[in-house]
């Protein structure tokens, strides 16, 4: 799948996961009926597209491959690590017919703790903003200074 811009990605994700909600999640006690499928963000981050996928049963950080992404050829279930200003996260690869390969990192599952879509959306936005924000610097030690490791954590 060739991803070109965030609007296309959000639409594809919402279509695919609404289909999943209708076709595969019926009768399972894992969906919060107050929530609906929504894709948030999906702008470029390095070679990938980064966003949050919110569904009635889970909320994940999601990476979709750009044309230079190196992980698309790997098997579903493989872990990859990605570093962000907030820290390093482990993503697990998954695939779906309509979407091709993607990489996910779990934030919530299930979603019963969210009262409504607005609350879930606020959590998703906070997580995405937090991920890209630089954390407050740690106390700087003389050792870090001499080793030149300041700012590398």
């Amino acid at each position: 799948m060739l991803w070109r811009e965030s609007g296309q990605i959000r639409l594809a994700l919402e279509t695919a996961f609404n289909d999943i909600l209708d076709a595969r999640m019926g009768g399972l006690p894992i969906a919060n009926t107050a929530l609906s499928v929504q894709a948030i963000g999906f702008n470029r981050f390095n070679e990938d597209w980064l966003g949050v996928l919110l569904t009635p049963w889970c909320m994940n950080l999601l990476l979709l491959p750009g044309s230079d992404s190196t992980w698309c050829g790997q098997a579903s279930g493989t872990s990859i690590e990605r570093s962000f200003p907030y820290g390093t996260f482990e993503f697990t690869l998954g695939s779906e017919t309509l979407l091709g390969m993607y990489a996910q990192c779990s934030l919530f599952s299930p979603m019963f703790q969210f009262a409504d879509q607005a609350a879930a959306l606020a959590a998703a936005q906070a997580a995405l903003q937090g991920l890209l924000a630089t954390p407050e610097p740690r106390g700087i030690s003389r050792r870090d200074l001499l080793r030149g490791t300041i700012g590398k954590h």
Partner: protein
């Protein structure tokens, strides 16, 4: 002067290079930054070694079997030489009265300064006659050894929760360590699992011995560093769960493709343990990877929670992506708009890689 851990290791023929490697491995398995390795090394070079008295009650010895097969041979050798396993009926050399005398010797010589490791539990019915050690009920030996110990490790689900011998109707009144009436009030670390993961066991011992303090425990008394996430949270089959790709029958195409086992009764969503990250047999595999759902063996009362193949339907049992403290067996509080942003950031921090966190930071 008392021997240090390092003295003991050198005496056992472990090279300094291996020792330093062990310190790095221990730091990694504890989720600490590599900069902690020298601190561990320093502690082991300077602190006198603490004896560990390892008692066995009603159990199957799977905890010991797991422990001595710790994935990394180095970790196993080092930990076994660190531990003064003078009394462990699976691997000690002594027998009979000589063996029982060792318990007295450790209790007297190291009063208040040894770790008591308990594998299995004590049956209380018929005055404890269902488990007799050296001619006396095990519960008496346990109370006696606990009286003078520094801290207690409850190995496995038997000592932590009761496990199969405490399953209903529990005819022998098998009772986990922390519920033994009259047991001395000592800190108890629960390391549940049937058995617990070997690397988790060695890391808990290494932490206790090197830092000389308890690891951070959750409200149920389990080390947070290994029991703060569910199998589900880090399961490699998790994308299948989220995409509704479920195994419906044991021999269907989805089973062959390795899809999610939730519908086949997998207890991963309610089980707190490190199987999906640390895995077993040198990180080779774990039950879900071999095609069977998690049976939740590290959870309290797992034998009495219905069939291993029954689908989880009690949604209150589902945790949120929180540690066990926040779930506590009840439905989590519903989050409204006001605190949702905080919930999002908390989840983000929890999902971050462990070795990327600050030591001691909230999991």
């Amino acid at each position: 002067m008392n021997e240090t851990f390092y003295d003991v290791m050198r005496r056992q023929g472990i090279t300094r290079r291996s020792f330093l490697k062990f310190c790095s491995l221990t730091a990694a398995s504890l989720g600490l930054a590599p900069s902690f390795a020298p601190k561990i090394a320093h502690a082991m070079e300077t602190k006198p070694r603490i004896p560990v008295l390892w008692l066995h009650g009603l159990e199957c010895t799977c905890c010991s079997e797991s422990f001595i097969r710790s994935g990394h041979p180095l970790a196993k050798d080092v930990i076994l030489s660190m531990l003064s396993l003078d009394y462990d009926d699976t691997i000690m050399a002594a027998a009979g009265h000589n063996a029982e005398a060792i318990v007295d010797e450790i209790v007297e010589k190291y009063k208040g300064n040894y770790i008591l490791a308990v594998e299995g539990n004590a049956p209380l019915a018929e005055d404890g006659m269902y488990c007799i050690i050296g001619g006396k009920p095990f519960v008496e030996q346990l109370k006696y050894a606990a009286e003078s110990c520094k801290a207690i490790i409850s190995w496995g689900s038997c000592a932590s929760w009761g496990c199969v011998q405490a399953a209903k109707p529990n005819p022998t009144q098998a009772t986990p360590t922390h519920k033994i009436p009259g047991l001395a009030d000592k800190p108890i670390i629960k390391v549940p699992g049937c058995p617990p993961i070997a690397e988790v066991m060695t890391a808990v011992v290494a932490y206790l011995l090197t830092f000389d303090k308890l690891p951070t425990l959750d409200k149920q008394g389990r080390p947070q560093m290994f029991y703060s996430q569910r199998i589900h949270d880090k399961c490699y089959r998790r994308p299948h769960f989220d995409a509704g790709q479920f195994v419906e029958h044991w021999d269907d195409e989805a089973a062959r493709q390795g899809h999610c086992l939730y519908k086949m009764g997998c207890k991963g969503p309610t089980t707190y343990n490190a199987c999906s990250t640390v895995r077993w047999n040198e990180g080779l595999s774990f039950p879900i990877q071999s095609g069977h759902g998690c049976i939740g063996c590290s959870e309290d009362g797992f034998w009495d929670k219905g069939s291993f193949y029954e689908r989880l339907t009690d949604i209150n049992q589902f945790g949120i992506e929180a540690n066990a403290d926040a779930v506590g067996g009840t439905a989590a509080a519903v989050v409204g708009l006001g605190v949702a942003a905080h919930a999002g950031l908390t989840a983000l921090n929890r999902s971050k890689k462990a070795d990327d966190k600050q030591p001691g930071a909230q999991q």
